[in-house]
């Protein structure tokens, strides 16, 4: 099956000119399936960590959003232990004007600005709300442990 031109273009651009701290490359056997790495933003508990994600472009893309999931264990109120991400643009706020690049940048931004008020991992969010520094330390510890 032929790949829509848009996907090809996006892929090309991602490979040639990837945003800082982000890399994404399609798998050999499925060009809609990307291996992604995102480095933790500076001055965040995830700094220094390299997080692996997988990204899949559904058939309806770009009318429907891509599916993204963390593969690396991460301690974050909006990311559950299965790696699922709570991000509005991946849900109802999706717009076809968005791209893989913007999605990944948003995810990177999410690492820098956890939002415990709209949690996905409730226990983490709880921890974050009650003991932010403890939670950040935990996050830093996990980053060291799993993402380095």
């Amino acid at each position: 099956m032929s790949l829509p031109k848009r996907i090809l273009k996006e892929t090309e651009r991602l490979m040639a000119d990837s945003p800082p701290g982000i890399s994404a490359a399609p798998k050999d056997d499925n060009l809609r399936h990307f291996d992604v790495t995102v480095s933790g933003p500076e001055s965040s508990p995830y700094e220094g960590g390299i997080f692996k994600l997988e990204l899949f472009l559904p058939e309806e893309y770009p009318m429907n959003p891509p599916k993204v999931r963390f593969l690396t264990k991460i301690y974050h109120p909006n990311i559950d232990k299965l790696g699922r991400i709570c991000l509005d643009i991946l849900k109802d706020k999706w717009s076809p004007a968005l791209q893989i690049r913007t999605v990944l940048l948003s995810i990177q931004a999410l690492l820098g600005a956890p939002n415990p008020d709209d949690p996905l991992a409730n226990d983490v969010a709880q921890h974050w709300k009650e003991d932010q520094s403890g939670a950040i330390a935990q996050a830093r510890e996990w980053t060291r442990q799993y993402a380095q």
């Binding site: 099956m1 031109k5 848009r6 770009p62 009318m63 706020k93 717009s95």
Partner: protein, 1207 residues
Amino acid sequence: MAVEEPSSATKLRKSSPDLFFPVSDSEEENEAPVVRSSATIAGPSSSSVKKENGSSSTFVSNGILDMDAKDEPQLFFGSQNSDDIVPLDIKPPPPPSSAGPSSTRKRLMSQSPPSSIPQNFEAGYLGEFVCEGWSLSKGKGYCQPGSKVVFERPKPQKVITEEDARAAARSKEKAGPARLVNGKVVGAKAKPIAGKQMTLGSMMGKKGAATPARKPPGKPVVDQIIRFRNERGFVGRLSVQEAGFLTHLLDTGVIELRGHVIDCPQSLSTGATILLNVKVYLARQAFVKVEKAGRKEEGSFWQEQKETIEEEVMRKRKDALGALFSRIGVKPLRSNALLLAQKKNGAAVINETSLKHFNSPSRPSSASGTKRSPSPSKGSTGIIDKGKGRASAVNSDEEEEDSGDEAEKLDDEQMNEIDTIYRKAQQGDNRLEETDPPNTFLYTLRPYQKQALTWMNARETGDTSVRDQSLHPLWEEYAFRKEQVEGQPIEIEDEEDFVDPSRKFYWNPYSGELSLTFPVSNNKARGGILADAMGMGKTCMMASLMHLNREGEAIDNPEDGTAVDGEEPASKRPKFKQVTLSNQWRAVPTVPKTTTSARATLVVCPVSLASQWHDELGKMSDKGTITSFMWYGNDRTDVDRLLGQEGKKKVDVLITSYGTLASEYQKWKKNKDKPNYEGGSIYDHEFLRIVLDEAHNIKNRTALVSKACYELKGQRRWALSGTPIVNRLDDLYSLLHFLRLEPWGHYSFFRSFVTIPFLNQDPKALNVVQYILESCLLRREKSMRDKDGRLIVDLPPKTVDIQVLDFSRPERQIYKHLEDRAKRRFIQLDAEGRAMSNYTSILAMLMKLRQCVDHPLLVLGKATAEDDESAEKLLDPQTGDEKTSLKEMIAMYAGGATSETTSDAETVDPVFAAKVLKELGEQETTPICDLCQNEMFDEVLLPCYHRSCQDCIVNWIGTCEDQNEQANCPSCDKGPIGFSDLRSIQRRRRRVNPITGGYTDDEGLPASQGETAVTIGKVDLVSSTKLRALVRRLEQMRVEDPEVKALVFSQFTSFLDLIETTLTKAGIRYLRFDGSMSQAQRAATIEEFGKKTKEPVILLISLKAGGVGLNLTMANHVFMMDTWWNEAIEQQAIDRVHRLGQNKPVFVTRYIIKGTVEKRIMKIQRSKTALVNASLAGGASKDKQASLADIKKIFGLGEDDSEDEVY
């Protein structure tokens, strides 16, 4: 040579019988003349015969003379000089003891043909067989084993008819020799040869004995009585079954018989069985050409007429000879592959069918005559069976059975494979030599074209060595046997052994003719069929031939037959005039001898190709070497004057159209017989060469245009056609008739050998056609390889890109709706068992679906036939609810959604809006769409002043609606937006008016350069996925190659209309070619398309009108907008571009919409193109059942509907 009036024969008859056998007295003789054949008595070994050669005449075979033959075969051909024949074993010339013999001799002489039979040939020994006879005598001592017998025929009495007159003449001829024997015997007292013969003296002695029990021959009772008697006058008759086929041959003097008694009762009683050994000789008379009365009525003859008397005689002779050959067990030494193949499948069948033409009501068991290959039950072993007294029908019965059995074994599958027909003609063609065209021919020929030149040249000059020369297809080669000599060890003749050519003779089992000379496969036809596949340069090859063979041979004017016959480099055999049926049947109008040798070539072609011929000939020829002239239309110049021109104005090639020719023909036919007719018609001119381009135009033999072509006078005739057989084998006949290829160009022959067997599903028809084509047809295909294994045609690569597109949402909704309804209706019909009777309306429903895939608006097209009724019902279902919905959907589609309220623009940042508007005016490049990341296509403006492709935003709005969400601007999330909020942005570009070629703006007003105007209007949704994809691609191509030329094919002209509109809007120049255009318009369009331009030109072609003949190699892009049932048709369309002369890579783009009938049609297309072709496209009723299964698949109802999601 002296000719004597019949009276002398009569005189002789009176005198001679008494001299020898006192069987009949002269009175009886007068009443019932006896036809006798050979008269040896006593001993199977041949009698001593005296050979007489005193006069300059030749003996016509008979009786005793024949007997020499077996021992001294050289006698047949011993000398050609009639004056000094001195056969070795011949006794000195006998004293002319009686006047009878010599006068007879003279008379006979006059009967012998002048050239085809060696002068001293008398008869050839064919073989012997055993048969039974009945005694008509009583008593002892009349005969004993070993005594020789003479066979004779009572002359039947009949009403005198023409036939009888002839028969009588023949029997007189026959009677002559019989008497001659007697006379000679009497006169010469011939001595035994080699001491083996019973002496004549002894015979004479016996003759003197009483003949008490002799029965007078009596009045002829039955037609089929053959009597035999020995020297003692003993009389018996042959059993009816044997006599059956011998009588005719005896009557006409074709054979002579000699025999002896093998076994008989000591004492004879009437009706006692006597076993006889009969030796059969083919008499000289057999090889005499039989004149045909049919010849003079050539015009009407070959429309199937009642068989003429001559034909009846020949038919009987043929049947009888066939039976005789089979009875004796004579096998052909050589027979052509065709006949052999037929025999394998049962010889009787083909003959049965071949006889149908000569359908005479009184055809008793003629098939019996046709089985030539002896089966074990026939030869000598079969005699015992026969001896048990079978009726005369034995032969025929047996063979009918045989043929019946074997006919059932025939393989029907062969009928389907037209391609196999060509295969034989193609064997070894890649080993043909190459011939270089002369320098005056400017093009470079490819190797295979040079090979064609070799072949064509050979066909024109009559050189038969290029392909092996073969025995005439209808003839078989036999050899006379060496006669067995009694007492000598039996010589077993091995068929493999070399056979002395002088012993060979030839038989045509179809006409009954016999010949002593080698009948060469007829080569009189100069020319042939050049049937190379489309796009291989037939025009080019023919042009090179025109350069190579500029002049006809000086000797020429091969009038009718004779000259050519002489020229035939037949073989090293003595050149006797060939006796073939074809000589007689040449349907050639007598060509008046002209003194000037013909020089011009006449090219007949469809009007649309005339100018192409003219142009190409001009381009290919060195200046002034070959000039062509287009001769058609209303103001045609005088042909004579035109072709008479010399020097600079001379015309070498006259190009005319089939239509022109037909009207000339009518004129000529009307006037030619008027006394004041002065000539001057094209039909009064003899051409060097006549070329029919697209020769399948004359496939109908009764059409005026075909007749017009047949009547043309030309020395060489060529038919060019990529499809010599269009859909019936009969198509070929017309071409063969035009070529005057004998004998196949004769309708009765063709019908007997091809048409009727083919109708009877007899695969032998294909054998015959293959055989015919082998000699006169050259066909190569693009896929063939040369002797080194390379493709003979090396075309630039062709890339086929199948673009699978997805409907926009509204399109899919409409389509789905339509498809569901069609499916339901079909299931309903099928369940009720009415699918078959509603076949056409089902096809109409499918048609609607296929149209919808192109563009939803096409569905609303007017219903053309009542068949469309149910298709219309798709749109107007009874249920009111749905009724509104579909039509409304389409209406909405066409007009854009009639949305409720337009969202206000108050929230839009005015600065941004201003910027956008400014940009719109200034922008040089097309912006990138946020959604598809491509340059915007069908740019639309959203209320928020963001822009997008129309497709993308429509799709987005649809997606949101599906999810019950409101659609917001993808870029700024403002909303909601609906279809009606979109505004299309039209930029006025400089573009070319397709008609005037000038630059205009959208309103057709001249636009000032460099100025780009922008209008923002209501979104025009009257487009479709395929249309947009096409335009997008074209726009892209325009950037890549500003001079690109492309073809766009669709099967719906209404879709072409829509494409036109879209292209106009997009500012892409286009031309159109469809079936509604006149020939002149078409030619003008093609010419226009071929012009060099600085901008892209698109040619919109209707698939059906533009599929054939066109050469459009100036384009190298092809777009197939929809899927036709038959892939071959699409292939043909692509071949307009991908053919010789194309030097750029060819790109083919096919548009397929995902999840629609198209996908399934393609699937079926691949699986069985042929069936789909026959049943769906042609509407042939025969295969409805099969196509219903296909339709089920198209609806996705098939059992194996594996929904591979590729499309």
